[in-house]
């Protein structure tokens, strides 16, 4: 493909397709002690995030729902990124990740696989797709009863 497609290739990296085709931790979580729903009213994306915390850590996390490739892959990558981490660290990661996608990266941080989502910076309307799962996770951890919304 030509250089013209660079933005598109950046947005739709192989990792995104992989996680969209076979999302990880894509199931209802038995024994979850935090649950939240997320909704993007713009495109109708809907997901539920389940979390089981133990000793201040995200012991297990999963999601179900439907959405575009970006939102599904982001949710899948998120579950991998946060599993086993202390809740405080997860919240800090959410803040930094959000800043990364909106072009205001804080300190140097290795985002690991989450870096593949930085392609949305060229497509502002898609930032919400990449952050919906994170907003929902944040709500689950804060036991927010209202559905998370990107609006």
């Amino acid at each position: 493909m030509s250089t013209h497609d660079d933005g598109l290739r950046e947005l739709y990296q192989e990792v995104i397709f992989d996680h969209n085709r076979s999302p990880r931790n894509f199931h209802k979580l038995d024994g979850a002690n935090h649950v939240a729903e997320g909704h993007n009213p713009l495109c109708g994306d809907q997901l539920t995030v389940y979390v089981r915390t133990e000793d201040g850590k995200v012991a297990d996390v999963s999601f179900v729902g439907h959405g575009c490739a970006i939102s599904t892959a982001s949710a899948s990558l998120m579950t991998e990124a946060v599993k086993g981490r202390p809740v405080e660290e997860v919240e800090a990661l959410f803040r930094d990740f959000h800043a990364l996608l909106t072009g205001k990266p804080a300190d140097e941080r290795d985002f690991g696989k989450l870096e593949v989502l930085t392609g949305v910076r060229e497509f502002p309307s898609r930032v919400k797709c990449a952050t919906l799962a994170w907003h929902t996770l944040h709500n689950a951890l804060s036991d927010e009863s209202r559905p998370a919304s990107t609006e």
Partner: protein
């Protein structure tokens, strides 16, 4: 496979794209292929100039100044109303109320006609294919009055189930509100027939004409409807201006819905009296330049000819339906026998939102999502669709670009070309 060529364009339409300055600008370094006309149409230079000229040469407030400019602005505003009246074939200019658009026009009827008249036991009928703007105002007024909202179902092809209509229309139905053309599927409804059935049970009929007026001639008297709402911006006119047509006897019997300047006859603390229609429904300084721009848009559309536009857009729709339908994995949503230039579709394995982004990179602007018609999407069991919608300036090359971009999205999602 190659789609068959469409008939040669009407010469007036072949030149039309040149009338729209924005179509000459590249988007993402590509030729702009604008296929989101059901969301809003682009504006011809004549409309842009008419608004600018109003501000340069005639701007003042209306109906209040004794000075020359105010009289000039008032004349232009009143002339715009008459222009809309003739366009809609209304009997008199007082039957045209300027609004911000279709949404405000429908809310006006909900609040000024329905709210004081309906109560528990009364029913408002809508259809499953309505835009949210022809659902939510009725839900609000049902909450306020205790009236009930009922819904005409839609079949697999996206057509109203007319045999269900007789059971839904009854002596308790006070108003039947339905769209002329579905914004999500392109279905054209049999308006005159639906109006006749509503009137047969003593109900009024309101038509949401947002998707119709730019694509076919509308004659409100021939349709027989009681109210007809539309937006200027879907008619090559400015945003923030639209109109409600209402039969004079109905408007005249309605009280105001918004209070303010220009809608009163006298104001006293003991009580105020209302201006005649249509001023009664136009509180505050209206969108004067918008009305002037709308009149210019109507002049433009009539100079091209609604007949020629309808023929052209139907040819585009037939061509696009065939070309896109021939792409494997593409499923068309909405295959009514009678359709306007709107093509809703799904591509297997690609979410509409992803498709919208990939097409955008190719310079092809479409809409992806629920099209403000969530109940209709639920009816089809889908979260949304991709939607290409046509206007007078689209041509065969635009459809070729659409089809090529869809194929490219499929290649990308299949992992080819990377």
């Amino acid at each position: 496979m190659n789609a068959p060529a469409i008939a040669p364009l009407d010469p007036a339409l072949a030149r039309a794209a040149a009338d729209f300055p924005i179509l000459a600008r590249p988007v993402r370094k590509r030729r702009l292929v604008y296929l989101d006309n059901a969301a809003t149409t682009q504006k011809p230079a004549a409309v842009i100039e008419a608004e600018a000229t109003f501000y340069r040469e005639s701007n003042a407030n209306i109906h209040r100044g004794v000075h020359w400019l105010s009289q000039r602005a008032t004349e232009l505003y009143d002339a715009a109303r008459e222009r809309v009246q003739h366009f809609m074939h209304a009997a008199r200019p007082e039957e045209i109320v300027f609004t911000r658009g279709t949404t405000e026009a429908i809310n006006l009827v909900a609040q000024a006609w329905v709210r004081p008249r309906l109560g528990p036991g009364d029913e408002i009928l809508v259809t499953c294919m309505e835009h949210h703007s022809n659902i939510v105002p009725w839900q609000l007024v049902c909450e306020q009055t205790g009236a009930t909202l009922k819904v005409v179902p839609v079949d697999e092809r996206g057509q109203l189930e007319l045999e269900a209509l007789d059971a839904l229309l009854g002596p308790r139905t006070r108003l039947f509100a339905f769209t002329h053309v579905s914004n999500a599927l392109g279905t054209v409804n049999p308006v005159a027939e639906l109006v006749r059935r509503a009137h047969a049970v003593g109900a009024l009929a309101l038509v949401d004409g947002a998707q119709a007026v730019a694509h076919q001639a509308v004659d409100v008297q021939a349709l027989g409807c009681d109210f007809y709402a539309f937006s200027g911006h879907k008619l090559y006119g400015p945003t923030g201006i639209g109109a409600l047509y209402g039969r004079f006897e109905l408007l005249d019997a309605m009280g105001p819905w918004q209070g303010g300047g220009d809608m009163i006859r006298t104001v006293r603390f003991e009580g105020s009296t209302w201006a005649d229609v249509p001023q009664r429904f136009e509180a505050g300084t209206p969108n004067i330049a918008g009305a002037v721009g709308l009149a210019a848009a109507i002049d433009y559309i009539e100079s091209v000819g609604l007949e020629a536009i309808a023929v052209h857009e139907h040819a585009l729709l037939a061509h696009a339906t065939e070309a896109l339908g021939a792409v494997s994995g593409v499923r068309l949503i909405g295959t009514a026998a009678h359709k306007a230039g709107i093509l809703s579709f799904l591509v297997e394995g690609i979410h509409p939102h992803d498709l919208g982004t990939i097409l955008d990179v190719e310079g092809v602007a479409i809409r992806a999502g629920h099209h403000c018609a969530m109940p209709l999407m639920n009816r089809f069991g889908i979260p949304g669709t991709a939607r290409a919608s046509f206007a007078l300036y689209n041509d065969e090359a635009d459809i070729a670009a659409l089809v090529a971009a869809v194929r490219k999205a499929q290649q990308l999602f299949r992992g080819e070309g990377r």
